[in-house]
């Protein structure tokens, strides 16, 4: 990456943790979506899982329409959980290291049987209330950061580009207001 040679101070301000862990991680997120697309033709998003899984316990028409895909969406989500756990067993635990991976200073690391788990410091009420709004908004808005952000933008879909600009702008405004009100973390 050339930017660090051009303006080191600016680079350090914009990317205090470097860019490689973000870029490599992003390429892998895209690759995961592409593997599924290549084999099945499906452009998968992560938020439909919420409604498709509710079809197991609720007869509401809104959930039942996802009946045909509910089993593989559970498998996709389990894959995400296990994939992140493999990261935790390797890079997060320090068992594997790479010049492309920079560990962070956020949250709390805890040793559990030779395996390092990570815990957030963000307060539960923020997670729960935010989660409710994420659950409502992603389903009404036809997609989340993976459906609109990765597959939709990758498809050059105007709807998805507008969707991403909308939730990104509102999220920035919200986070800035919450920070200004002195809520940390």
């Amino acid at each position: 990456m050339a930017p660090e040679l051009i303006a080191p101070a600016l680079y350090e301000t914009l990317f205090p943790a470097g860019v490689s862990r973000y870029a490599v991680g992003g390429l892998l997120v895209g690759l995961g979506a592409v593997v599924i697309y290549l084999g099945t033709g499906i452009a998968a998003g992560a938020s439909t899982f919420l409604e498709s899984t509710l079809s197991y316990v609720s007869d509401q028409s809104r959930f039942q329409r996802y009946r045909a895909s509910r089993d593989w969406r559970v498998v996709f989500t389990l894959g995400i959980v296990v994939g992140a756990a493999i990261y935790a067993l390797t890079f997060q635990s320090g068992l594997v290291s790479s010049g492309l991976y920079q560990s962070g200073t956020t949250g709390e690391l805890r040793e559990v049987g030779g395996f390092t788990i990570w815990l957030t410091d963000v307060q539960p009420w923020r997670l729960f209330l935010g989660g409710i709004l994420v659950g409502i908004g992603t389903r009404i808005g036809k997609g989340c950061t993976s459906g609109h952000g990765v597959c939709g933008v990758g498809s050059a879909s105007k709807t998805s580009i507008v969707g991403v600009i909308t939730f990104l702008t509102v999220a920035i405004g919200t986070a800035q207001v919450v920070m200004a009100l002195g809520v940390t973390p």
Binding site: G41, R62, W72, A84, S146, G152
Partner: protein, 153 residues
């Protein structure tokens, strides 16, 4: 499509999920603090996550349909992810934005966060199910009353 699936269908979905989840862990997107740092303009790395992912998927969505007609495991035609635009995209996007900005969590990252050991994230996952349930019941009932009273609203 659930009756006769290719034997490799589920393993491939799982493999895709694995890579996807590993990427979310590696990029620290499974950590709400890092997402909040981006939204508060303290670390712009998230742009590289979204950009990197969209470039890879963009190449696939642009090239694959020209090289092959149908996906091997489903026989489905390769297409792009195109959804119709209406005001729900703006309303839902706005509500999602408030939730994302408050919590630093989106659905895929929340599942991945559980994988890195962050049990506290169950608050967010529980919240997402509550939110998805509430909007689903509301919209189901609205759709039902709309068909019986023939567009009386």
């Amino acid at each position: 499509m659930s009756q006769q699936r290719h034997p490799l269908f589920m393993p491939l979905i799982f493999l895709g999920g694995l890579i996807f989840g590993f990427g979310l862990g590696f990029s620290h997107m499974a950590r709400p603090e890092v997402v909040l740092n981006f939204l508060q303009f303290e670390d712009f790395g998230l742009l590289f996550v979204m950009g990197g992912a969209a470039v890879v998927s963009g190449l696939a969505f642009a090239l694959v349909p020209r090289l092959r007609e149908r996906a091997p495991l489903t026989g489905a035609a390769y297409g792009r992810r195109l959804k119709s635009f209406d005001r729900n995209v703006l309303i839902g996007g706005g509500i999602f934005g408030v939730g994302w900005g408050l919590s630093g969590i989106c659905p895929g990252a929340a599942y991945a966060s559980l994988g890195v050991g962050n049990v506290t994230i169950l608050w967010a996952i529980a919240g997402m199910f509550v939110g998805a349930y509430v909007q689903g019941v509301w919209r189901s009932q609205r759709a039902a009353s709309g068909t019986t009273s023939a567009g009386a609203d």
